[in-house]
């Protein structure tokens, strides 16, 4: 019998953010090469921030991502607040959460409806769905627009917030704006019920590989925002300033983005990782959604990340409603504001839509940055994706090339990678 050679090279995986390739070479079922190459240019954000003042840090670092810029802003501001000893008021935290969950919703909706659903429905992009599922596409657009508006009402626009400062918000939303988005969020419950019903009918590829999962942890709520520690499915909790004791980032030859590991090897971050760490803290409606999607039966299946995003979107709508109602129950008060820089280190740990996000800043006495480290979700997942590849391929290597390729692409897409954000592999030390 002739040798069967598989040579799959997916140049620029589609429906992900940024540029990455999949390489698989195998002969008679033996894998010779299998990797996820990250070819997006490195962008040197951390080096760019060195020497910049605290009030520039947030505006530079949020440009790391054009999708989750509010998460980057949030984490950056939390790092500054941690360094300078600033405690924002309950009002500020409540309003920030509205914008934060708005971004979580818009990012998740974009992924599960536009990027992942076509795979699960067997079409190449969202456009054929307009004919076959017109109500779903309109629903997706309606949810995305509402999520954008949740951000805009609080922080000025739906990305790259212009109204977000350490300690406060420089603009208070009008009551009418809050009432408008509140009413639309309540109405969106029906849309999310329909989204859950749709995804409950879809079949995930059959694959399991147990791995460690890390997520931010908060004692009183589902860990997303304002977290103090990192929780592992292995049972340990790491205080946020000590994250380097848990997470080690390293460079590999075939990727412009760093990889990461813990003492147990590769690990997962993102919606499914959060669900695995903290599902008991989800809103009851989100727990119902998880039950409808049988998510607990797929905890070791990375393709189920998409389902976890649907569940979290239900949760984030409930959180947005909760904090909008908090704000509508009182008269919002303008807060006097000042920032006194001081030398020292501050760390922000939150969840970006794609997973655990850390900003670690050290300032001098004038409030200028002397050290910056940003740990990005997609970087942390890359190592895990490759381990998934190696577990997946032996089980599917007898299938036609096209099927193998699609399953590998779908796996990468399931992690919802944001490759542009991840590419900052080079450590640059500037001596002044």
């Amino acid at each position: 019998m002739a040798d069967r050679k598989i040579n799959i090279f997916v140049e620029e995986i589609c429906r992900v953010e940024g540029h990455g390739n999949i390489v698989l070479n195998a002969t008679n079922g033996t894998i010779e090469e299998l990797r996820l190459e990250i070819t997006e240019s490195p962008r040197f954000f951390e080096a760019m921030m060195l020497g910049r003042r605290w009030d520039e840090a947030t505006h530079i670092s949020c440009r790391i991502c054009g999708i989750c810029s509010i998460a980057h802003t949030t984490t950056s501001v939390r790092a500054i607040e941690d360094a300078f000893g600033i405690e924002p008021s309950e009002q500020t935290l409540a309003l920030r959460k509205v914008a934060y969950h708005g971004e979580m919703i818009q990012s998740h909706v974009l992924h599960f409806y536009y990027l992942a659903a076509p795979d699960l429905l067997g079409v190449p992009s969202v456009f054929p769905l307009i004919q076959s599922h017109p109500a779903e596409v309109k629903r997706a657009l309606r949810l995305k627009r509402l999520a954008n508006d949740l951000c805009k009402v609080v922080v000025g626009r739906h990305l790259h917030p212009c109204a977000y400062l350490p300690g406060t918000l420089p603009r208070l939303p009008e009551r009418a704006e809050l009432e408008d988005v509140h009413a639309r969020c309540v109405a969106a419950r029906a849309d999310m019920d329909a989204a859950v019903a749709l995804f409950a009918t879809l079949t995930l590829p059959d694959f399991e590989r147990p791995c460690e999962a890390l997520a931010s942890w908060h004692p009183d709520e589902y860990g997303m925002y304002e977290c103090q520690a990192i929780k592992s499915t292995k049972g340990d909790l790491t205080e946020k300033h000590d994250y380097r004791q848990k997470i080690r980032e390293f460079v590999v030859q075939h990727s412009h983005a760093k990889h990461a590991e813990t003492e147990h090897g590769s690990y997962m971050v993102g919606a499914l990782a959060r669900y695995r760490c903290n599902s008991d803290q989800l809103h009851p409606r989100a727990k119902e959604a998880a039950a409808a999607l049988s998510l607990d039966a797929h905890l070791d299946n990375p393709y189920a990340i998409t389902l976890a995003q649907v569940v979290e979107t239900v949760h984030s709508f409930e959180e947005a409603i909760r904090w909008l109602e908090w704000a509508l129950e009182r008269d919002l008060e303008w807060e006097e504001w000042s920032v006194q820089p001081k030398a020292g280190r501050g760390v922000g740990v939150d969840e970006a839509p794609r997973g655990l996000l850390i900003h670690d800043y050290t300032f001098d006495g004038e409030g200028k940055l002397t050290a910056v480290n940003c740990v990005i979700p997609t970087n942390q997942n890359l190592n895990n994706v490759e381990h998934d590849f190696h577990a997946l391929v032996p089980g599917i290597v007898q299938r036609p090339d096209e099927e193998i390729q699609l399953l590998l692409e779908m796996l990468v897409r399931a992690y919802d990678p944001c490759i542009s954000c991840a590419t900052h592999m080079l450590d640059v030390t500037i001596k002044r």
Binding site: G18, Y114, P124
Partner: protein
């Protein structure tokens, strides 16, 4: 009910002549175009550009468009009449093209009239600043769009078959 007109300048300011739509919008924003007219910088807003135009009766979209003509050439055309197509495998929603947005708008039943003001670029490589032939047309495009808006505000709104102002009556959903 007053018509709502949106002027949307799109493009990437870091890609030479691709900035022209944004620069036109910025100039128009400093002029008083009249009530019911909103000028927006769409930049590389991707899918979100749909939300900028879908509530308007008329959207004038200004963008660098490769029409295969002389750099600086200006063409005005109705999106409904143009052959706007997208490739099947959309590479990334981070970079959704205007063409995708217009197709999505059409296919999901958005009834905004969309007029494109296209300027043929010379160069769209990374870089700041317009090429000489495109820069030379900036004032002309600003005046062109201002004229289009003024003419529309002076003329009565187009009548639809049932005699109502186009589709804005009952739908309060924003």
């Amino acid at each position: 009910m007053a018509r709502r007109i949106v002027v949307l300048g799109v493009g990437n300011e870091l890609r030479s002549d691709d900035a022209v739509g944004v620069l036109v919008a910025r100039r128009l924003a400093s002029l008083d175009l009249g009530e019911g007219v909103e000028v927006m910088e769409g930049h590389t807003g991707g899918l979100n550009l749909l939300f900028d135009i879908e509530d308007a009766d008329w959207a004038i979209v200004v963008d660098a468009v490769d029409m295969g003509s002389q750099p600086g050439q200006v063409e005005v055309f109705e999106a409904a009449e143009a052959d706007v197509r997208v490739v099947e495998r959309t590479a990334s929603l981070h970079h959704v093209a205007l063409a995708d947005v217009l197709q999505l708008a059409e296919m999901t039943g958005v009834d905004t009239r969309v007029t494109l003001v296209g300027i043929q670029p010379q160069l769209t490589l990374p870089g700041e600043g317009l090429s000489e032939p495109v820069a030379a047309k900036l004032d002309e495009v600003v005046e062109l769009v201002r004229g289009m808006v003024e003419d529309a505000l002076e003329s009565p709104p187009p009548e639809t078959a049932d005699g109502t102002d186009k589709g804005r009556g009952g739908a309060a959903e924003s």
